[in-house]
């Protein structure tokens, strides 16, 4: 069975697994730095325009934001359980948990869509008709759109990877027990959650204090 999951040049499934996991961690370092530039820019401007950033932050939807955070955290839970189940050869549980992860991810994107619609209706896209006049408020929302947009792209990519796991394990009941890519996909998904965990206070908790 194990030979079917071997990819050249690997001769040993364990070593392939170690390499794939390690390779994904290296890739995740690059993903962290991708968002790092955004974090740095946000920090600079928040320091420069704290009033404007707080005024702007007040306008994001704490309800959508917090619910989405909870959704992603839960999807991380289901993803983690899926991995543990796969390693314990509880393959049906693993597949169910992967499907739950996928479902929660899609839910995240749907809610994000509704949130974006609400934001646009409130005129929160920088440019003509932007409701806030405080200096830096527009810049806050520049970061909001790019940060959440790029994050959403990553969620989409992650969902595609999770879907691939679901389809492969549907075709072959034993697939999750032998494949080395489940853990890599899980790591990617967890990173998407971690990025959001950091975006949440930056974009949703600013300016909540009244006055």
């Amino acid at each position: 069975m194990s030979d079917a999951y071997l990819h050249p040049p690997w001769k040993d499934l364990n070593r392939q697994h170690q390499a794939v996991t390690f390779g994904m961690w290296v890739f995740l370092a690059s993903e962290v730095l991708l968002f790092g530039g955004l974090f740095a820019g946000y920090t600079i401007y928040r320091d420069l325009y704290s009033r404007g950033f707080l005024a702007a932050g007040h306008q994001t939807s704490i309800v959508f934001g917090t619910i989405n955070t909870a959704i992603l955290m839960t999807s991380s839970l289901t993803m983690a359980v899926a991995g543990r189940a796969a390693r314990a050869a509880l393959l049906r549980t693993a597949r169910l948990m992967l499907m739950a992860t996928f479902f929660l991810g899609v839910l995240f994107l749907i809610l994000k869509g509704f949130e974006y619609r609400e934001d646009i209706q409130k005129g929160l896209f920088p440019g003509h008709g932007f409701p806030l006049t405080a200096a830096g408020a527009q810049i806050f929302f520049s970061f909001y759109w790019v940060m959440t947009g790029i994050h959403a792209l990553h969620v989409t990519g992650g969902l595609a990877a999770v879907l691939r796991l679901i389809i492969a394990s549907a075709r072959n009941r034993e697939w999750l027990a032998g494949s080395t890519s489940e853990e890599a996909t899980a790591l990617y998904w967890h990173l998407v959650d971690v990025i959001w965990i950091i975006l949440y206070p930056l974009l949703y908790l600013a300016g909540r204090v009244n006055g």
Partner: protein, 98 residues
């Protein structure tokens, strides 16, 4: 051995730690959300980021299995945050001394 026959302890093994971690994450989420409404002046941002860091750490240590994983993976995982730190510090030599 059919999956249905697997003992409760197996299921417990795969669910217990993640569920515990998830519970902590939910509590921290509640805390950070609530604290955002507490006036702390400039302290609000650092507090929320600290909580975010703890949450990220939990996800990393438990869900991403860094706590039990090879040291090499921990090293790779630390590279991102360390390099972001470098970006912040050296950009700071400009922005915070202007």
């Amino acid at each position: 051995m059919v999956e249905k026959d697997r003992s409760r302890s197996d299921l417990q093994k795969i669910w217990l730690k993640p569920l515990l971690t998830w519970t902590c994450l939910c509590l921290l989420l509640t805390a950070t959300c609530a604290l955002a409404y507490v006036p702390m002046g400039p302290g609000n941002l650092p507090v929320s980021l600290l909580i975010a860091a703890i949450k990220a750490g939990l996800v990393g240590a438990v869900f991403m299995r860094l706590a039990e994983d090879a040291p090499l993976n921990r090293l790779a995982a630390s590279a991102g945050p360390i390099w972001i730190f470098i970006l912040f510090v050296l950009m700071g030599t400009d922005y915070f001394t202007r």
